[in-house]
């Protein structure tokens, strides 16, 4: 079920970039400790508050997904399949990671701590992702600035809330940052392992494969040896041969081997339910509960038995947009954006890819926003959103307002029972989609501009 919740404004670059007291702020970012200690403290406070709310209120702080994960872990602890738990749609590895949550000692304090160990893991993943962010940022700026931008992620209350409520999206953050970090330090085998593992974990990181492959051309991978440029115009064949570099092959083989090995292992262990729930579910899913996706209303209409009735014009052999929805999405995320931007700026390319993938997806909930939020600090420092304060404010305001309009319609539907599907929710989701497209266009434009003006990572 889509449970989009209002978390406006957390992507704000200005929240951490506008210093109220410059000297204090400067000293805050001067060393690593204050940043990481406060990021950890923030999560400890949220975690403890969550424990208190769960114990005292019928309205729970803990995310329903966390109960799904921990239930699945309990099945695993009993030697059963995690897919015994309805709506568990993840790799078994997630349930294994949460095995400590199934332990009980009889001491309620210790048991509560054990049950929360998964949240601690997710929160720790946040911190590691932040640290990786800082490392990547530090390649193009001084340490204090790198920490300042990493703070957008590390001190972001939305990120801290999501992980301490027990959502596993934070794990994806650390995996993607580790992947980027490994690629940029040219550790190909590690990158292949991470890519294969992330795709096994959550599918969507496969979009990074074409960008990384396109980025790692012979020039970039072997800076010591100048690449041999044939004097003549290269033939198509020689171009193709030149494309197949050892590094690319190494990445392809390691990532594919990791992905296949993991899936083979999981299939051997848990059989068809593993495939059905982890992967095939996403193809065959029929739950069209309202979410941010522009296709949502259309999917609801098309899935229902009345889709062929006279009210809707089906006289002409119309092409249903939802049946080709994957085309613009994959064309942008896997082909056009990588080709245009990966070689110019890999982190920004990955941000744009993720943004396009989420905006054009058939299902879109607010958890998906976390997928691109982890990459945002890598793009923001040189973005026109920060350089042009008016543009930045406008983009943020539009993004928040469009979401707000959708949430308001969603509230009318979900809680007041008003038929807000048409035109309200539909128009709101299309509006939010167009705002996302506009922001995506600006990001892509920025990458082009950097390469022209010679700003290189």
């Amino acid at each position: 079920m889509a449970r989009p919740t209002a978390k406006p404004g957390k992507a704000s670059p200005s929240s951490s970039a506008t210093p109220p007291t410059p000297s204090l702020l400067a000293s805050f970012f001067h060393r690593s400790a204050p940043l990481y200690v406060s990021a950890a403290l923030l999560r400890v406070v949220f975690l403890l508050y969550g424990l208190w709310q769960d114990a005292n209120s019928p309205v729970k702080y803990t995310d329903i997904d966390y109960l799904v994960f921990t239930d699945a872990a309990r099945f695993v602890a009993r030697g059963q399949s995690p897919y015994e738990r309805e709506t568990y749609r993840y790799t078994p590895i997630l349930a294994w990671l949460l095995l400590p949550t199934t332990q009980t000692t009889g001491n309620p304090m210790v048991d509560a701590a054990l049950f929360s160990s998964g949240k601690v893991l997710f929160a720790a993943a946040d911190l590691v992702a932040g640290w990786l962010l800082e490392r990547v940022l530090a390649k193009s700026m001084d340490g204090a600035s790198a920490r300042k931008f990493a703070a957008i992620w590390l001190l972001n209350p939305m990120v801290a809330t999501i992980s301490t409520r027990g959502s596993s999206e934070g794990l994806l953050g650390v995996l993607v940052m580790a992947l980027l970090s490994a690629v940029m330090s040219r550790r190909i085998t590690l990158a292949g392992l991470l890519l294969g593992f992330s795709v096994h974990f959550k599918i969507y990181p496969f979009i990074y494969a074409p960008a990384i492959v396109w980025w790692m051309d012979a020039d970039r991978m072997s800076k010591t040896q100048p690449s041999k440029q044939p004097a003549k115009q290269p033939s198509l064949l020689s171009k193709l041969l030149a494309f197949v570099t050892p590094a690319r092959l190494q990445l392809a083989v390691t990532s594919l081997a990791t992905f296949l090995a993991l899936n083979f292992a999981m299939y051997t262990l848990y059989g068809p339910p593993f495939l059905n729930h982890t992967y095939l579910h996403h193809i065959t899913r029929i739950d069209h509960r309202h979410n941010f996706s522009p296709y949502n209303t259309q999917l609801y209409l098309a899935s229902s038995p009345s889709a062929g009735l006279g009210q809707v014009d089906t006289t002409a052999p119309t092409l249903r947009i939802e049946s080709i929805a994957f085309l613009p999405q994959l064309l942008l995320a896997c082909v056009l954006i990588p080709l245009a931007t990966a070689k110019r700026d890999l982190p920004a390319a990955m941000l744009a890819q993720t943004f396009a993938f989420v905006a054009f997806n058939k299902v879109c909930t607010s958890q998906y926003f976390l997928w691109y939020m982890v990459l945002l600090p890598l793009y923001l420092p040189r973005s026109s959103f920060l350089r042009n304060k008016r543009l930045g404010t406008a983009a943020l305001a539009l993004w928040v307002l469009a979401q707000g309009a959708w949430l308001q319609q969603g509230y009318l539907l979900e809680f007041l029972g008003e038929s807000a599907f048409l035109p309200g929710l539909w128009v709101a989701s299309l509006g939010f989609f167009l705002v996302n497209c506009w922001v995506l266009g600006v990001i892509i434009g920025d990458v082009g501009e950097w390469s022209r003006s010679g700003v290189v990572v």
């Binding site: 079920m1 114990a55 014009d313 809680f415 035109p423």
Partner: protein
């Protein structure tokens, strides 16, 4: 074929034998305030062929229809079920017959919307199945029964079957061990004249009974006394008195059910009970008595068993625990993508604690049941309706030690859906359902927001246009990046330089 006609009055209302006149095959008496129950026992070879095929393919089969109109009843005819069409059965070996069950049922009852048992039914145990749906009246069944039972010009037969439209409940019950089908109809507690006529070749027994409380009666027993007459055989009614242990008793309280507004997509069904007191008299002082609600939820709506597992959350709704639910219940699928009829839920309610141990506590209390609507098919106007029948509400009393084993009694009803979820020695004290203020029916309707097909004409084109515009804009910017790689500087860059 045998027939049993019973009038049951309340305690203290009894009839002198002299008040009743028996004339061969007709019995007539004064007006009484009673429940009337008619039971027809039909041997297997007397059944119409399609019914015979159905029951012959099963180990046991129980069809129970309950009226949506509230009706009063008296002990011992107290069992309650949610209004609608219920079916419980254990298939036999002949699965071909089982597959045809739904179409045969449609032929008998009218609008039965199951496809096949495999798709539409839910499993109660490994080999027992359950089906439920809304069915507001018996008009189709009445026509069917007229065709089977009445001759072409048999007006009295037709007229008698027409009275089924006022019945409170109708049961068709078959068990392989007895090889007979019992058809039992029950009419509400009301004033009516005693009158019955036997039909040729049908042994007809008429009982005019009332609840009795002889001194020898034990606490777990129900006493019955009155007059019994076999038409065409007895010239005068013979007095009778008997007692038996009954699983079904009267809690002497009532409840109503209503959805809290606004209902939204997650409506809450609130039960309002008139009494928080355990049943007035129990045989066993140590027996634990707890109130329960048994819901049959059509597939438009469901309860989330995971949501109903947190003690704090349950306590805030005056619930103790979810004792049983159909497995599995899809938590995501829209209504139109499902064939399963729906689900049953047994919830233990949590009455407010008595203020003092022995003080009788009066006063109403509520329990709230959080439910979730599925997406329904798009409809003109943007709204559809989901009808949710009243639950059956009862106190279940389980003796501390192994208690009475209940021998079959003349008014026993088993296979009710919830009785099998309790120990065999449990006594059910039934709480009477009363329509909530305003409506007269034991059904609550929820207005469900759906996609308005009248406005959906632009959805396909509009979505396509928006996606195209968004896509084109992004592609335009990508082209700009490529072109910029050669030319350097587009319009946007010049603009930036100006700032």
């Amino acid at each position: 074929m045998r027939e049993r006609i019973t009038y049951v009055q309340k305690l203290g209302d009894s009839l002198e034998p002299s008040a009743v006149r028996v004339d061969d095959d007709v019995i007539q008496g004064p007006e009484v305030h009673a429940v009337r129950e008619d039971r027809l026992t039909i041997a297997l070879d007397e059944l119409p062929s399609e019914l015979r095929t159905v029951v012959a393919g099963t180990q046991d089969l129980h069809i129970r229809w309950v009226s949506t109109a509230a009706y009063g009843t008296v002990s011992p005819l107290l069992t309650r079920l949610p209004p609608g069409f219920h079916l419980f059965f254990t298939p036999g070996r002949n699965h071909a017959v089982t597959d045809g069950l739904c179409s045969i049922l449609s032929g008998i009852f009218g609008d039965i919307s199951c496809t096949t048992p495999a798709e539409s039914f839910t499993a109660v145990h490994e080999d027992r199945f359950q089906y439920f749906q809304e069915l507001n009246d018996l008009s189709h069944f009445i026509q069917y029964a007229k065709g089977q039972l009445c001759g072409p010009s048999d007006e009295s037969c037709s007229a008698r079957l027409d009275t089924l439209s006022e019945a409170g409940s109708l049961d068709l019950s078959y068990d392989i061990s007895q090889k007979v089908l019992r058809v039992t109809a029950l009419w509400p507690y009301q004033r009516q004249h005693v009158h019955a006529t036997s039909r040729p070749k049908v042994r007809t027994e008429v009982g005019i009974l009332s609840t009795d409380k002889p001194k020898t009666l034990e606490a777990h027993e129900i006493g019955i006394s009155g007059l019994l007459t076999v038409l065409g055989q007895d010239s005068t009614p013979s007095p009778t008195m008997f007692s038996f242990a009954s699983r079904h008793r009267d809690a002497e309280s009532a409840f109503s059910a209503e959805f809290l507004t606004p209902t939204g997509l997650h409506p809450t069904l609130q039960l309002q009970l008139t009494s928080a007191n355990p049943p007035p008299s129990t045989a066993d002082e140590d027996a634990t008595c707890t109130p329960y609600a048994y819901l049959t939820l059509p597939r438009t709506i469901f309860a989330d068993k995971y949501q109903l597992s947190d003690p704090l959350f349950l306590a805030s709704k005056n619930l103790t625990a979810l004792r049983h639910t159909t497995q599995p219940v899809d938590l995501e699928a829209p209504e139109y993508a499902m064939a399963q009829w729906g689900s049953t839920v047994l919830l233990e309610l949590s009455p407010p604690p008595p203020t003092q141990p022995h003080q009788q506590q009066e006063g109403e209390w509520t329990a709230s049941i959080p439910l979730h609507l599925r997406y329904l098919a798009p409809a003109p106007g943007g709204y559809a309706t989901a009808a949710v029948p009243y639950p059956a509400v009862f106190w279940a009393c389980e003796p501390a030690q192994g208690g009475t084993v209940f021998p079959p009694n003349p008014f026993e009803r088993t296979h009710l859906g919830y009785d099998g979820l309790f120990r065999g020695d449990t006594v059910f004290w039934h709480v009477e359902p009363r329509p909530a203020a305003g409506g007269g029916l034991l059904v609550n309707e929820v207005r469900v927001p759906v996609l308005d097909v009248d406005r959906a004409g632009w959805v396909n084109a509009g979505t396509a246009a928006a996606v195209l515009v968004g896509f084109a804009w992004v592609v335009w910017k990508i082209v700009g990046v490529w072109a910029g790689g050669v030319n350097g500087g587009g319009a946007e860059e010049r603009e930036k330089k100006r700032q």
